[in-house]
């Protein structure tokens, strides 16, 4: 069981900055994120794009914003559970929360901060009949263990980088690889596009474009798919079908935690501390809603700051606390580091 003071669900910019504000109050944090890396939308959707409305940064790349945040919070030694989704929450007799992930990792804390943004990023699934039925019976959306495909017949659908990259990779592993895309143009790194062209020229893969998968066939597991290529129906025998159409965020299991949901977001008390209808559970950043809500990074930072003050009172009801300036008090990390403004020198002039 991982124990901490504030358990943060979501390691986007809001979740990351929470670690800093909590650290100033000597509270320890642990972050859970379903993505394999921190950064939320900034890391998953637009790492190479500039942001122009972060106060005092006339321009900053989303990826750099995340890197800077990670550096800023490092002294407070946050724990990370990455690549796992928080799926359930329960209350203990001592009024703490236990949050469990899809992989069974358990976390316990007196305060939970949901900074889940637009939700967990899940694979976009094409609207094909029996697709759900064939999941784990030949259909998968993420390639976890490439060895699974050794000497198998694989069909990949998609026109972006992951479809191209996995086609190139699996060509070495699988018995055969067929790539299907709705048009002849691919949106991906030039290098990958050229490699796939080369594999096609050499007859090492099958490329079927412009074409669309129309049906999945098989009794207990997938045995073939049918493809519509400009009006002509082709049947392709295969063991695996991997549609790679990118990821899309879905609020997911959090929606069933008994929290008040409005417009696909969690309702909070914005006049006070962004607490939800369940005392001890806060919602900050893009995941919350209140009158006048704006889904902006700077608003997430503000919400995180107020929320930490409230969490401190909840965790240490007996302690009094006042706001301190980092310039004056410095930043003492849990790693023993101390950042401090230089002291003024006082010397006599004779």
């Amino acid at each position: 069981m991982i124990k901490t003071d504030i358990l943060i669900i979501g390691a986007g910019p809001t979740g990351l900055f929470t670690v800093f504000e909590a650290g100033l109050l000597q509270l320890k944090c642990h972050l859970i994120d379903s993505l394999p890396m921190p950064g939320g939308q900034c890391a998953e959707i637009y790492p190479k794009k500039p942001i122009y409305d972060i106060p005092s940064h006339p321009e900053i790349l989303a990826g750099d914003l995340v890197k800077n945040l990670e550096q800023q919070i490092a002294p407070f030694q946050p724990g990370y559970t990455l690549g796992e989704s928080a799926v359930s929450i329960e209350k203990t007799a001592e009024n703490e929360f236990i949050v469990t992930t899809d992989k069974g990792t358990q976390h316990q804390a007196p305060v939970v901060a949901i900074a889940g943004g637009l939700g967990t990023f899940e694979p976009r699934k094409p609207p094909l009949k029996r697709l759900d039925f064939f999941e784990d019976k030949g259909v998968s959306y993420i390639i976890k263990e490439p060895e699974m495909y050794r000497d198998k017949k694989v069909v990949i659908a998609g026109g972006g980088d992951s479809a191209l990259d996995w086609t190139i990779f699996l060509e070495n592993v699988a018995a055969s690889v067929t790539l299907i895309h709705r048009r002849n143009e691919f949106r991906g790194a030039l290098d990958s596009v050229e490699k796939v062209q080369h594999l096609k020229n050499e007859g090492r893969i099958q490329l079927i474009t412009p074409a669309e998968v129309t049906t999945l066939e098989g009794e207990s597991k997938l045995t073939s798919i049918s493809v519509n290529k400009e009006g002509e129906i082709l049947k392709i025998d295969c063991d695996h079908f991997i549609p790679l159409f990118g990821l899309t965020p879905k609020l997911g299991p959090i929606a069933n935690w008994g929290l008040e949901i409005e417009k696909n977001a969690i309702k909070v008390d914005n006049t006070l501390d962004y607490q939800t209808n369940i005392p001890g559970i806060y919602a900050i950043g893009d995941v919350n809603t209140y009158p006048g809500k704006l889904k902006l990074i700077l608003c997430g930072f503000h919400e995180a700051t107020l929320m930490c003050q409230s969490a401190f009172k909840k965790i240490h009801p007996e302690k009094r606390n006042v706001l301190k300036y980092t310039t004056v008090s410095g930043v003492s990390g849990f790693d023993g580091s101390l950042k401090q403004a230089a002291k003024s020198t006082i010397k006599t002039i004779e």
Binding site: I45, P127, G159, R182, E185, R187, F245, T248
Partner: protein, 107 residues
């Protein structure tokens, strides 16, 4: 003073909405939908990267051609028809006054 234009939108339940859109606010159709609190996510913020703003154009207004990015995204979107467009790629201009559109199913 630039005039507002009118967009006629049919939502996923078949209900008709009349949207009044300004032409001087640099807004696109996805943003107009969000401003009217219609169920259009606009997940990618309008970069033609998510297709959550896909709609079908049902009138014959002269629309700017699909850009390469829009073509690419539509080729990976679902429920795509001949008249599919990404709302975020359609700017509000006088030329599209009276445009009729229908929201594509959400994924």
């Amino acid at each position: 003073m630039p005039q507002d234009i009118t967009i006629y939108l049919t939502d996923r339940e078949g209900e008709l909405h009349t949207l009044i859109a300004p032409t001087d606010m640099q807004m696109n159709l996805m943003e107009i939908c969000k401003a009217y609190e219609l169920p259009v996510e606009g997940t990618c913020g309008g970069m033609a990267m998510c297709a959550s703003c896909q709609c079908y154009v049902e009138s014959d207004h002269p629309l700017p051609e699909r850009s390469d990015d829009e073509e690419a995204m539509l080729s990976e979107a679902f429920y795509v028809e001949e008249n599919s467009r990404l709302g975020c790629q359609i700017q509000m201009t006088d030329a599209i006054d009276g445009l009729k559109i229908r929201l594509a199913p959400s994924e």
